[in-house]
Each structure stands twice: as structure tokens, then as C-alpha cells.
Point group: none
Chain length 181, copies 2
DNA sequence: GTATTATGAATGAACG
DNA sequence: CGTTCATTCATAATAC
């Protein structure tokens, strides 16, 4: 793969007050580019029910996939994270889109336009072909679906959950003379 | 100060009062997007040893950082939580990726691939005399903001956000027999 | 060559 | 606190 050495990320953070510091670092960060075989294996694993592989699993997968090309554990990690997230995202969108037609009488919403992938079937936990992980590989219980509807937006937490009133003092005296502290 | 070079960041980050005014169901409350300065200050505080700021400190920090842009106490709180957690995670897992490749040939590959490892900024010097705004008298001089500043450019962070602590035996048989492939 | 899409990577927010 | 979710950013790949 040729290197189009032009990849310098510009995180143009435009803000009212923002003054982007110097970002003139042409750091070339190359991201992992999975091979076809790697993607295939990962996809199969995913379809087999693996959603959130453990560290151990990730390492094993990474090791195996390294045979097909350069890869790191983090790539596997991210891959699963993204894949899972995007599947949900897609399902959610479809669901919302079809939300008008659905009737409470039939819970089958297979009329989605993208159900090809969305359906994904309820992977059963019996994947003999993937004996790689004898452990609780598929304990994700993704079907649980977690009804975190969050109002679709984002919860506006007025009082955020931190209550550090306790004299934790896990940090040194910290002179923190920040002129304000 | 030159202006933000990039015209990107289309994410209409209205940093007003969360009033996006998105027509329709646009009740989207965006998440905090720290400015470069804010990140810098927070990073400095963290590097100075602050790990779990008290409520009071959070308040003060937030107040000060609000000068650079919209920010809330909860943002500061979360920032420290995330930063601390991720630092730890990164450190726990380092180069297990190579661990497998380098077979037990007693041949330590140390610079063959991009499987770099942790940046290893073992600072954590707990500077008691921290100054929030390092005008120029910041104690440390070495590890300034080489790579830890992953907010404005290509972050070449190698480690990934999940812990791997398993002593991990060499490399077991690995029954990844995806025969169906 | 430019616009769009797909997706790797990053991180704020929040859960358990 | 460690882990997970959701959203966003950046870029390789691809369409136009």
C-alpha cells in the first residue's frame, strides 16, 4: 500500500473561545487496514455471537489474525466495539423508521430495509466451530437489548453523580496553588 | 493567534448554552468538547499528581476553565475519571501483541514492527507546587507535551483502552479452527 | 480530482 | 473503579 503522505490529522476544534494551539505536526498516523481474511474471521466470530471479547480472547484472535497480516490487539478490540455499536445504531435507526408501521400485535419487524444484516439471527450459544474460547465467551446476552432509551437524546444530568464529599485524600497535599484553589 | 485553520469540524458545536435550536426533535445536547487549553490545563493537573479532585477542586477548576470555553463541573469530574482509568489500562497492557509473534526463540524483537508499546511517560512526579497555568515555570522540562497531547493531531497512541493483565502463558495451542472459513 | 461512504480510532458519558 | 455505550473525528476506500 502506498503511502499518501498527507495524513495529518487536523482536529479543527472551532470554538468560540478556541484557539487551536499549534497543530502543525504532520504526524503520520497510519491506521490498521485489515485484510480480507482478517475481516472474514472477525465477522464470523461476530456472527457466531462474540460481541465483547475478553482480553484473553482478543489476544488469541489477534495472534491468529497476525498470520494474515499486521494486526494488534487493539485493532481487534476496536473492531468489535465498532461493529457492535454500528449494528445497534443501524438497528435503532431502522426501528425508529419503521416505528409507525409496527403494530403491537406483531412483534416481527422484519420489514426493515436493512434487515439483512440487522437481523443477524439470534445466534445460539452453540458454536462448535469456534472452540477457541471455552470460557464464557458469549455471555454478553446481547439479546437482552438493554432498553436504554435515554430519551434518544442524552440525559441532562443536573447533578452529576460524583459526591466526593468523603475525605478521600488519595492525593498528596497538593499545593495546587492555582490562584483559585 | 491565527484562526482555526480548518473549516471542518462541521459538528456545529454551539457552545452557547446548549441551545442548539435544531428544528424538529433536535433536543440533542452535545457533549462537552474541551478546548486545547482546557485539555492542557487538565493534563497538567493530572501530571502534577491530581487524580481524584475533590468537589471543591472540581468546582474551582471548572470555574477557571470556563474562561476557555463552556464547561461544567461534571466534565472535569469525568475527565479525571476517564484519564485515570485509561492511563491505567494502557499501562497494564503493553506489548502482548508481540508476545505471540516473537515465539520463544529467545529472539526479542524490539523494533521490527509498529507494535510499539506504551509511551512510557512515567512522570507522575507529584509536584506539590503546581501552577495551573504554566506560564513558564513548570517544573518538568523533559516530557513536555510530546505525545500526551493527543488532542490536536494524530495521536499515535499505541496502547488501547482495555486492560490486559493476564500473565498469559506463552501461546497455547489456540484452537481457532474456523473450519467454516 | 472531488464527493461520499465505510470504518478505524478516540473519548465523553455513564453503568454495575 | 473498571468496563461498556454512544457519538464523534479522521481517513482509507470507493463512487462519481
Amino acid at each position: 500500500m502506498e503511502e499518501a503522505l498527507s495524513g495529518f490529522c487536523i482536529k479543527g476544534s472551532v470554538r468560540g473561545n478556541g484557539n487551536n494551539g499549534s497543530t502543525g505536526t504532520g504526524t503520520k498516523c497510519e491506521r490498521w487496514n485489515p485484510t480480507t481474511e482478517q475481516v472474514k474471521v472477525l465477522t464470523d466470530l461476530f456472527r457466531s455471537g462474540l460481541r465483547t471479547p475478553s482480553t484473553d480472547q482478543i489476544q488469541k484472535i489477534s495472534t491468529q489474525l497476525s498470520f494474515y497480516g499486521k494486526i494488534e490487539s487493539k485493532n481487534v478490540f476496536y473492531w468489535f466495539q465498532n461493529h457492535k455499536a454500528r449494528e445497534r445504531q443501524k438497528r435503532r435507526k431502522v426501528s425508529i423508521d419503521e416505528n409507525d408501521l409496527i403494530s403491537r400485535d406483531n412483534n416481527k419487524i422484519t420489514s426493515s430495509k436493512e434487515y439483512f444484516e440487522v437481523k443477524e439471527y439470534q445466534l445460539e450459544r452453540v458454536i462448535e466451530t469456534l472452540q477457541l474460547f471455552p470460557l464464557n465467551s458469549f455471555d454478553e446476552t446481547d439479546q437482552q437489548e438493554k432498553f436504554i432509551f435515554h430519551a434518544s437524546e442524552c440525559r441532562e444530568i443536573s447533578t452529576f453523580p460524583y459526591r466526593i464529599s468523603a475525605p478521600e485524600m488519595d492525593h498528596p497535599p497538593l499545593d495546587l496553588r492555582l490562584s483559585f484553589l
